[in-house]
C-alpha cells in the first residue's frame, strides 16, 4: 500500500540502477533526513546530546563493522581497539597543533594501518580462529593502552580532548556537535548504500560466501579482505575520534575495552548482518535498552512492593542485554533489519497478498 510500485518504469539504465526504485523509500529517506536536520528544534538539548548523538555515532561504528562482518564475512572481536587507535591518534594530533580536519584523517588512516594488521590474521585463518585472534589482539591493545603513559596518560588516566573545531570555527553548542555526528553518520550511510552496487561490494559478498570459490572466479580474496579491513577500520577510527571529540570529551582505555567490541558486534547482529537500516535499529536498541529495562524493572518492583538492593538493580540491565542477544538470535537471527524487510514486503503487495501465493 505505502510502497506503491505502479508508475515505476525504467526508461534508462541509470534509472534501473536507482538506489531506491520505489518512490516511498525515497520519500521516507528524505523525511527522516529532514527530521534529523530539524532535530535540534524538535528535541530538548539534553536528549539531543545524550541519546541522538551517541546513537548516530554508534550507528556509524556499527555500519563500519557491518561492512566487515556483514558484507565481507570476516569476524572481528577487536573493533573497539581499532576505534581506540583512531581516537588516540586524533587527539594526540590535535594536541600537537594539527587542525581537526587533518587530525581526523590521520586518526582514520592510522586506524586503517593497525586494522590491516588484524587483516594479516584474516589471510591465514577465518571464522572461529579469526574471531579468537582478533579477540587476543584486542587484549594486546588494551594492555598497550594501559601500560604506555605516552599514549593514554598512564593506567586509569584519561586524555583530555581539545575543543572540537572545523574550518577554524570552534564547535561547542549542542546543535553543532549533533550536526557533526549526523554528518558523519550520513556520510558513512551513503558510502555503504553505494558500495553495495559497486564492483567492490559484489567482490566482498563473493568473498563472504566462499573465499576459495571467489578466488576461482577471479576475485582476489587476499586483496579484498585487506580492503575490507582497512575501510572498516578507517570508519572505526574516525568514529572513535568523533565520539571522543563530541561525546566523551576525553579518551580513556575503558571506553574501548573488549566489552565495547562485543557491544558493537551485538548492534550488528541484533540489527541484522549486511543490513544498513538494521544497524540504525540495532544501535538504538542496544543503547536504549539498559535505560528502558531499568525503568521497567524499577516500575515493576514498585508495583509489586519489592525492595531490591542497588547491586541487583545495577546488574539487571546487563542480564537483560545478554538475554536480548540470545532471544534475538533464537527468534529472528537475521535481526531487526529482516523484521523491517518483512513488514515492507507485506505492505508492498498488501491488499493483494493473494498475488504472492
Amino acid at each position: 500500500m505505502f510502497y506503491r510500485q505502479s508508475g515505476v518504469r525504467h526508461n534508462s539504465y541509470s534509472s534501473d540502477r536507482d538506489l531506491f526504485p520505489i518512490p516511498a523509500d525515497r520519500y521516507a529517506l528524505w523525511f527522516f533526513l529532514a527530521l534529523g536536520i530539524a532535530a535540534p528544534w524538535l528535541i530538548d538539548g539534553l536528549y539531543l546530546n545524550s541519546y541522538m548523538l551517541p546513537w548516530l555515532l554508534w550507528t556509524a561504528a556499527a555500519l563500519g563493522l557491518n561492512l566487515l562482518t556483514g558484507w565481507a564475512g570476516q569476524m572481528h572481536l577487536g573493533y573497539a581497539a581499532v576505534m581506540a587507535v583512531g581516537a588516540y591518534s586524533t587527539v594526540h594530533a590535535v594536541r600537537f597543533g594539527i587542525p581537526w580536519e587533518f587530525a581526523l584523517l590521520i586518526g582514520g588512516l592510522s586506524s586503517s594501518v593497525i586494522g590491516s594488521l588484524f587483516a594479516v590474521a584474516a589471510l591465514r585463518v577465518k571464522g572461529l580462529y579469526l574471531a579468537i585472534t582478533t579477540l587476543a589482539m584486542q587484549f594486546v591493545m588494551d594492555w598497550v593502552l594501559n601500560h604506555s603513559p605516552a599514549i593514554s596518560g598512564g593506567s586509569h588516566a584519561s586524555l583530555q580532548s581539545p575543543t572540537f573545531a572545523l574550518l577554524g570555527q570552534d564547535i561547542t553548542s549542542d546543535a553543532g556537535l549533533y550536526y557533526v555526528a549526523l554528518g558523519w553518520c550520513v556520510l558513512v550511510t551513503i558510502f555503504l548504500l553505494n558500495m553495495r552496487r559497486t564492483g567492490l561490494g559484489r567482490a566482498l559478498v563473493a568473498v563472504r560466501e566462499k573465499d576459495f570459490a571467489a578466488a576461482i572466479l577471479g576475485v582476489n580474496s587476499f586483496y579484498y579482505k585487506i580492503i575490507a579491513f582497512a575501510t572498516s577500520s578507517f570508519i572505526a577510527g574516525v568514529t572513535g575520534a568523533i565520539l571522543v571529540a563530541t561525546f566523551y570529551f576525553l579518551a580513556s582505555p575503558e571506553q574501548f575495552s573488549v566489552n565495547v567490541s562485543i557491544q558493537v558486534l551485538a548492534m550488528v547482529i541484533v540489527g541484522g548482518l549486511a543490513s544498513i537500516i538494521g544497524s540504525y535499529f540495532g544501535a538504538a536498541l542496544i543503547l536504549l535498552m539498559p535505560g528502558i529495562v531499568n525503568g521497567l524493572f524499577a516500575g515493576f518492583a514498585d508495583m509489586v512492593g519489592l525492595q531490591f538492593g542497588p547491586e541487583t538493580l545495577a546488574h539487571i540491565p546487563n542480564a537483560a542485554y545478554g538475554a536480548l542477544i540470545v532471544i534475538f538470535l533464537m527468534v529472528e537471527p537475521m535481526g531487526l533489519g529482516k523484521i523491517y524487510g518483512n513488514i515492507r514486503d507485506y505492505l508492498l503487495v498488501w491488499p493483494f497478498d493473494q498475488m504472492k501465493k
Partner: protein, 295 residues
C-alpha cells in the same frame, strides 16, 4: 642466571597451567561434539562457583554436599542451554553461534551478579595457605589441588570416552551425518557434552574461587582457557592438559622475566601473544584434527 628462581617459576607455572586446563577441558568437550566454541564457559564457571556458595555459605551445608549438588544443578543448566539456545542455531553462520555464546555469557554474568552481588567472597575450601617446600622450591598448595583435580578429570574423561556413551560422543565429533544415519541421537550427545562441560565448570569455579575469591573475575579466565584449548587443539583433551602445562610455564617464566622489564602486568600480554602465535603458526593446535576445507 638464577636457576632456583627459574625452576620455581617453571614448576609453579606447570601447576597453575593445569588449573587452566580445567577450564579448557570444558571448552574442548563442547567443541569436540558440536564444533561450537563456547565463549560462555567463563559465565558458567562463575555461575558454578556461586551455586556452590549458595549451598555452603547461605544454607550452611558442608562443602561435600554443596559441590555435588551444584554439579547436578549445573548438569541440567548445561542441558537446558543447549536445548533452548544452541540447538536452533545448528547450521547457522559461525558469527551467530559465537554471538549466541557471548550473549549467554553476558546473561549468566548479569544474572549471577544480580542475584548474589559482586563483592568477592572466599570459597572456604580449607586448603591451608602455609608455604609448601619441595627442596628449595616454594609451591602453592591450592594450585597443586587444582592440578590434581585437572588430572583426575582428565583420567575420568579418558575412561568415559571408552564407554558406550563416550564412543557415541566420539562418533558425533567425527561425523555428524554418519552418526545420525547409524541411529545415534546427535542432539542428545551434544546436550550431554554441554552438561558435562557445565559440571567441569563447577570444578573450575571451586578451584579458582579458592585461588582468587568468588567474584566477577572468574569469567576472565576465558582468555587463558581459550588459549590453552586452542594451543592444545580445540578437539583434543590430551591437548588441553599438555597445552595447559606449556602455557602455564611460558606464562610464568615469560612474565617472571618480563615483569622486571616493563614493570608488572605482562601475564595477559604473554597469554595473548601465545594465542596469536598459535593461530598464526598452527591453527589446529598441537594435537587437534586438521580439517581440510571443501569448496
Amino acid at each position: 642466571m638464577d636457576w632456583v628462581f627459574l625452576a620455581e617459576l617453571t614448576v609453579n607455572g606447570a601447576i597453575t597451567g593445569l588449573s587452566y586446563s580445567l577450564f579448557a577441558i570444558g571448552l574442548v568437550l563442547i567443541y569436540k561434539s558440536s564444533s561450537v566454541p563456547n565463549l560462555a564457559q567463563g559465565g558458567l564457571t562463575m555461575l558454578g562457583a556461586y551455586v556452590v556458595l549458595a549451598f555452603s555459605y547461605e544454607l550452611g551445608w558442608p562443602l561435600w554436599v554443596a559441590i555435588p549438588l551444584a554439579a547436578v544443578i549445573m548438569f541440567f543448566v548445561g542441558l537446558g542451554i543447549e536445548r533452548v539456545a544452541l540447538r536452533r542455531l545448528a547450521g547457522r553462520p559461525i558469527v551467530m553461534i559465537l554471538m549466541m555464546t557471548l550473549g549467554i555469557d553476558i546473561f549468566l554474568r548479569g544474572t549471577t551478579l544480580a542475584i548474589w552481588g559482586g563483592a568477592p567472597r572466599p570459597m572456604g575450601l580449607g586448603v591451608s595457605y602455609d608455604p609448601f617446600f619441595v627442596g628449595p622450591l616454594l609451591l602453592s598448595r591450592i594450585h597443586i589441588v587444582g592440578a590434581l583435580v585437572a588430572i583426575a578429570l582428565f583420567v575420568a574423561f579418558m575412561l568415559f570416552f571408552r564407554s558406550r556413551q563416550g564412543i557415541r560422543l566420539r562418533a558425533i565429533s567425527d561425523d555428524y551425518m554418519a552418526s545420525w544415519s547409524v541411529g545415534i541421537s546427535v542432539e542428545r550427545g551434544v546436550g550431554l557434552s554441554w552438561a558435562l562441560a557445565s559440571v567441569v565448570a563447577v570444578a573450575t569455579g571451586v578451584i579458582w574461587g579458592e585461588i582468587q575469591g568468588v567474584d566477577q573475575t572468574l569469567s576472565l579466565l576465558l582468555l587463558k582457557g581459550l588459549t590453552v584449548a586452542v594451543l592444545g587443539g580445540l578437539d583434543s583433551i590430551v591437548g588441553a592438559i599438555v597445552a595447559g602445562i606449556l602455557l602455564g610455564i611460558v606464562e610464568n617464566v615469560g612474565s617472571g622475566y618480563l615483569d622486571q622489564m616493563v614493570g608488572g602486568g605482562s601475564r595477559d600480554l604473554v597469554v595473548a601473544a601465545v594465542l596469536i602465535l598459535t593461530v598464526m603458526l598452527r591453527p589446529h593446535g598441537l594435537f587437534g584434527r586438521h580439517d581440510i576445507e571443501r569448496i
